[in-house]
């Protein structure tokens, strides 16, 4: 009986193994290659390291030192941090205010305005660049960090507001009523009740938005361009592909530098990340 069960489940395991292999092997190949010497990379496949695995001497950190120092990726890493951390903070901050307003305050046009927000969640950003750019140039915001903070905040707002709104709208009304009877102002209700209760939702939104901005290429290309003092990792790495397309020792290490923090966030905070995705898609 047990044997029959094992045999009948073999196809299931094989199918899963096939998928896991396709999802795992390409990344593994890149990771191994990023530690190999350039001559080895150019003349043999990365899988040839396995038979010689124990003899050592095949791997070094040279490629990482190279991209961080000579290709300016160290600077790009800091640029990405300087873009994504403030932009995520500002956008979560603004969104939590707006979400509270839409969920619990009564004002004219509330419904229509919120429907506008919901509709704008999927608008192609391509619709917005051409009119905004000349204004940015005039105001001196093009190619600056504050410029891209504002842009990312605005582009993220429809989704973040919507997500936080859904959570705040689910807070029991009694909580607010009793506070209102005690004479608390809307701001007090917001900061003392709504925000503390919403911390899990805000954390999800923060992580979701942070990864989105960290991984963004298009918005950075448009508002920052490729100037080394502001360009984030995505733009620098994409340029590396264009200019040094065959230098795999650089590309592989560069790719992993750009993925390092997202992977760290992914493995340590996966729960929040998943919650953000579920809130965004199942309800929306």
């Amino acid at each position: 009986m047990n044997l029959r069960k094992t045999v009948s489940r073999t196809p299931l395991h094989l199918v899963i193994l096939f998928f896991v292999g396709i999802w795992f092997i390409p990344t593994l190949g890149l990771l191994i290659t990023s530690f190999r010497a350039p001559s080895g990379i150019a003349n043999s496949g990365w899988w040839t390291v396995f038979p010689k695995l124990l003899s050592g001497g095949q791997f070094s950190l040279q490629n990482y030192v190279g991209v961080l120092q000579n290709e300016g990726l160290g600077r790009a890493f800091l640029n990405t941090l300087s873009i994504s951390v403030p932009a995520t903070a500002i956008s979560t901050f603004v969104a939590s205010f707006a979400a509270f307003g839409f969920a619990w305050l009564r004002f004219t046009g509330r419904r229509v305005l919120f429907m506008l927000v919901v509709g704008l969640m999927v608008i192609p950003l391509q619709m917005t660049f051409i009119p905004v750019l000349p204004i940015y140039s005039k105001l001196g915001l093009a190619g600056t960090f504050p410029g891209i903070w504002l842009a990312h905040t605005a582009y993220g707002l429809p989704l973040t507001t919507y997500l936080v709104h859904n959570f705040m709208a689910g807070i029991p009304k009694d909580l607010f009523d009793s506070a209102a009877i005690d004479g608390a102002s809307p701001f007090k209700v917001f900061s003392r009740i709504a925000v503390p209760i919403s911390v899990p939702a805000l954390a999800s939104v923060f992580i979701f938005q942070f990864l989105w901005i960290w991984n963004d290429l298009l918005v950075a290309l448009v508002y920052l361009g490729a100037l080394p003092n502001v360009a984030p990792l995505t733009v620098s790495v994409a340029n590396l592909v264009t200019n040094r397309g065959q230098d795999w020792e650089l590309l592989t290490a560069a790719a992993f530098v750009s993925m390092s923090l997202p992977l760290l966030v992914f493995f340590s905070l996966q729960r929040y990340f998943v919650r953000g995705i579920l809130a965004g898609s199942v309800k929306g």
């Binding site: 043999s44 496949g45 919901v118 391509q126 290309l221 990792l233 995705i277």
Partner: protein
């Protein structure tokens, strides 16, 4: 007062530019938005959008992406969610398939560019796909330059690889919400696993599948990064979003770029309406 800052930002960065871009699509190239040198050109840009060879290729490729990418991400995501629920190593397998959702499309593009790497037959292959082909006795293939089907397919595979985990996670959450007694009851009634899937699981996951599919369609219409990094639209792999970027930053033709952007908008409007409708229905259910 609470919603003021958000509305201000949304107004300036989303609403105002959308209106202006629609208007701009009827004007010439021009260095500025509506300067003295920008002339009204009527439908010229629109004629370009729907007759120019590269634009037609882009529209075709976007359609190809929409069909293959959406069906595979949704199909694989659903299958993996249901299959992985039956094995003990579910958690780790799910993590592996979900990882690409956390990294950038730029990173994913490099990962796959390396998989597709090509060397002439006389040299050792360094890309694993060509190594497999050669090991099986074939000739190495230039995966990213074999137009128009092989290279476009190879690009779409990258997109599927990035987004399948996202779909799987959503399906998995919905699947685990199905009461297990329901599946057991069907099995006791003599239904085999396929019939349980077809007649019980699938109908219950239908609404989730609709949401996931529309999310994927919205994503795929705007697909940009993968093409920008891997081929930059060369060898017949152009897509609408990359074309818009080129018209804007390489050719500085703002009229045409606007018209191309509006094409994207028109394709996405149905999804905006759908989202709003869903929201209204949800609000109705709440009150």
């Amino acid at each position: 007062m609470f919603v003021g800052p958000a509305l201000l930002l949304i107004g300036f960065f989303l609403v105002y530019p959308t209106v202006m871009t629609v208007a701009r699509s009827f004007f010439g190239r021009g260095a500025t938005l509506f300067g003295p040198r920008v002339e009204f050109v009527g439908l010229t840009n629109w004629k370009y959008v729907f007759t120019n060879q590269v634009m037609l290729t882009s529209l075709r490729n976007n359609a190809l992406w929409a069909i293959l990418f959406t069906s595979c991400t949704v199909g694989f995501g659903l299958a993996l969610a249901v299959l992985l629920d039956r094995v003990r190593y579910e958690k780790i397998a799910k993590s592996v398939i979900f990882i690409p959702a956390a990294i950038s499309m730029v990173g994913a593009s490099i990962i796959w560019k390396f998989v597709y790497a090509y060397k002439p037959a006389t040299l050792a292959q360094i890309g694993i796909l060509n190594a497999i082909v050669v090991a099986l006795g074939g000739e190495p293939v230039g995966w990213l330059i074999q137009r128009p089907w092989i290279n476009n397919l190879c690009l779409i595979v990258v997109g599927i690889w990035v987004w399948t985990g996202f779909c799987m996670v959503i399906f998995s959450a919905a699947y685990k919400n199905i009461p297990k007694q329901l599946l057991e009851a069907a099995r006791i009634d003599g239904a085999n696993e396929w019939r349980v899937f077809r007649n019980v699981i699938l109908p219950l996951l239908g609404p989730t599948a609709a949401v996931v599919a529309t999310t994927m369609l919205v994503q795929v219409l705007k697909i940009f990064d993968i093409i920008y990094v891997m081929t930059n639209g060369n060898y017949s792999t152009e897509v609408i979003a990359n074309r818009m970027y080129k018209e804007m930053f390489n050719y500085f033709n703002y009229g045409r770029a606007s018209a191309i952007a509006v094409v994207l908008l028109i394709l996405i409007v149905p999804f905006m309406i759908l989202n709003i409708r869903r929201f209204v229905a949800q609000e109705g259910a709440r009150s």
